[in-house]
């Protein structure tokens, strides 16, 4: 697996030492908060409602077992015994004390991790498909390209002062699990007619205040042109993007205002220059990175014990049928560990759970784990004959919930339980909805349903692309929840449409229940998902279920 080179390690250690000095000077009063704040933000340290919060980067969501073990150690030693995995494939610690933060950063550096955020208006951490390097439908592992992009964009002299922050997502499979259409640049790997791998390139996607689906700027980009083409896009945006209004500065507005065709023409012109300038120099580096990402040697597996266990144990079968995904090696499976036990906080894992997941990764997944933007943990390479033992081990620490992709597998941002920007809470709404459907025992019958909750318009909970989205707002001093319908985060991405007036906190769970039961009434059969039914029928029957009293008036 890819490891830091010496330069990276020295860089991270130097930054920790610098930050230790800065924290000391902040505590003794020689640095004011105005001076200190940009320094702490650069090191991933935020001040939230009740405490400091440390956000630790997990590049392209990939973790080694020893790293997960260290995260558990940090949670136990310096925090309140848990951590929160986010939709940006990060982990957040919610209760660090200022004086302890340098020690935490030191402990992270020991396992080649850091909390350095490329903050400001620069190119941020690249996110990737959480099944990278394992999925059966994958053309190639996207992480070498993601790492190449990371190295290219880090301290890129021309791109330190972009009009606004810039996010790139990449998937190595035509089936998009990385929400690439909601990023400034989205890269979706496909094959051309000759069968060669390359990227469909999208620009101008994004959620937040003005949600937009990315537009195709290049149908097919040969792999070796990735950096020069991305450089051409960012350079074009750097010139054209608006700097007069923060809310109009993202590339989505630039593309929207200029039109994709004009924007494409400018990028293609620039690309002639950038391609000549690169001259393929980055390809050698890419090959080195690719070698470092070589998959483990998968052992030969007899799948009979797995099939037998599946037949014999209905609990195991429910879990296997729900939480496993197809691996490129037929003897292995991709296991998703749900962090969404009904009633639990979506994305939270205790120190003990982190330790157990690390041990299980060592024992059953060649030492590898992934973090998904859907706030679950993945063991990417599990031999099928190990699955029954793995399932038993997960059960003992409440990590065997069989709900992947179902209504209780909810994405929820921290909302006003932690976040200083929030307009309402998200977590208790997620907990109550999951518990309600647990009681109804309908979850598996309902089938695939993506419910996503954000605690403010910034949309960290991706509510716009939920089949059902919930946005928490402050309406005249009361928490109020607005529902959107028909969003989609995959390669058929769509922004959900507002269903109507919002609901107060005590009514939102009942409203969601009516909505989902209403879907069961109108679907053609169990194979028609909520989203498919919505696309076939339009919003009316769903609105009627949500607002039964106003049916006649509307």
């Amino acid at each position: 697996m890819y490891r830091y080179d010496d330069f990276d390690d020295a860089f991270v250690r130097t930054r920790v030492a610098q930050f230790r000095g800065q924290v000391e000077r902040r505590i003794d009063g020689s640095l004011t908060e105005d001076e200190f704040k940009p320094l702490r933000l650069m090191n991933g340290l935020y001040l939230q409602l009740h405490a400091y919060m440390l956000r630790v980067a997990i590049p392209y969501g990939t973790l080694r077992a020893e790293q997960m073990r260290q995260l558990g150690m940090i949670a136990e030693r310096w925090d309140e015994g848990y951590g929160h995995f986010t939709t940006r494939q990060n982990i957040q610690f919610n209760w660090p004390k200022l004086k302890d933060v340098p020690d935490i950063l030191e402990a992270l550096a020991d396992v080649e991790m850091h909390a350095i955020q490329t903050s400001g208006n620069t190119i941020r951490n690249v996110t990737a498909d959480h099944f990278a390097g394992a999925a059966a439908d994958e053309i190639e592992d996207p992480r070498p390209a993601a790492e190449l992009l990371r190295q290219w964009s880090t301290d890129h002299p021309e791109f330190q002062f972009l009009p606004r922050k810039f996010k790139i997502a990449i998937t190595g499979s035509p089936n998009d699990r990385a929400v690439v259409k909601a990023h400034d640049i989205g890269l979706r790997m496909i094959r051309n007619e000759a069968g060669e791998p390359g990227f469909e390139v999208l620009v101008g996607g994004g959620l937040g205040r003005t949600p937009m689906i990315g537009k195709v700027i290049r149908d097919f980009l040969p792999k070796e042109d990735l950096l020069p083409y991305c450089e051409a896009i960012v350079a074009t945006y750097n010139l054209l993007g608006r700097r007069d209004n923060k809310y109009k500065a993202r590339i989505k507005i630039t593309v929207h205002e200029n039109g994709i065709d004009t924007f494409r023409d400018l990028v293609e012109q620039k690309f002639i220059e950038t391609r000549a300038a690169f001259g393929g120099a980055d390809q050698e580096l890419l090959r080195e990175i690719e070698a470092a990402f070589a998959p483990p040697a998968f052992r030969a597996v007899d799948t009979a014990p797995f099939e037998a266990a599946r037949e014999a144990d209905p609990v195991f079968r429910a879990w296997a049928d729900t939480n496993l995904a197809e691996h490129k090696d037929a003897g292995h499976a991709i296991v998703t560990i749900s962090l969404k036990k009904p009633g639990a906080t979506p994305g939270d894992a205790t120190a003990e759970q982190m330790r157990v997941m690390a041990d299980l990764a060592d024992k059953y997944s060649y030492g590898e784990l992934r973090v998904s933007h859907e706030q679950n943990i993945i063991l990417p390479h599990v031999a099928k004959d190990d699955l029954p033992a793995l399932h038993d081990a997960l059960k003992s620490v409440e990590l065997a919930t069989a709900n992947l992709g179902l209504v209780s597998d909810i994405i929820a941002c921290p909302g006003m339980d932690y976040c200083a920007l929030a307009t309402a809470r998200s977590i208790p709404i997620a907990q109550e909805i999951a518990e309600r459907f647990e009681e109804l025992k309908l979850e598996h019958e309902i089938g695939e349903l993506k419910l996503k909750i954000s605690g403010c318009i910034n949309a960290c909970g991706h509510h716009h692309v939920g089949h059902i989205g919930i946005l928490g707002l402050d309406r005249a001093g009361v928490e109020n929840y607005q529902i959107t319908l028909g969003g989609d985060a995959t390669e058929t991405a769509a922004i959900g449409e507002r269903a109507g007036p919002g609901f107060p906190a005590e009514e939102i769970v009942g409203a969601i229940e009516r909505l989902v039961l209403g879907y069961l009434d109108v679907r053609e059969g169990p194979e028609e998902t909520f989203l498919q039914a919505y696309r076939r029928l339009g919003p009316d029957p769903f609105k009627a279920a949500l607002y039964p009293d106003t049916k006649d008036a509307a």
Partner: protein, 99 residues
Amino acid sequence: MSRRFTPKVVTANALLEGDAVWLRADGGWSRDMHDAQLFEEEELANEALRHALAQPDLVVGAYLADAKAGPEGPVPTHFREDFRTRGPSNYHLGKQAEA
């Protein structure tokens, strides 16, 4: 044009612990909102805020928050400020666990 002034307290986060604190009448800080001084007059509130902002070695991000008088001292009027007196709703952590 001028909106009627509603009573306020001065609040901030503690520098070292990061938790919510409120300004007392004696100029010190308390972790319990009931100890806060409630300002009924805008000018006095602004003056107290200036005092708070001049203590960057103790607190971070001081601001005026709406409040009203309660039986044991000032209480919040908005849910955000109410949460700050307690802690998160998903775990028994923060102020609610210290009491």
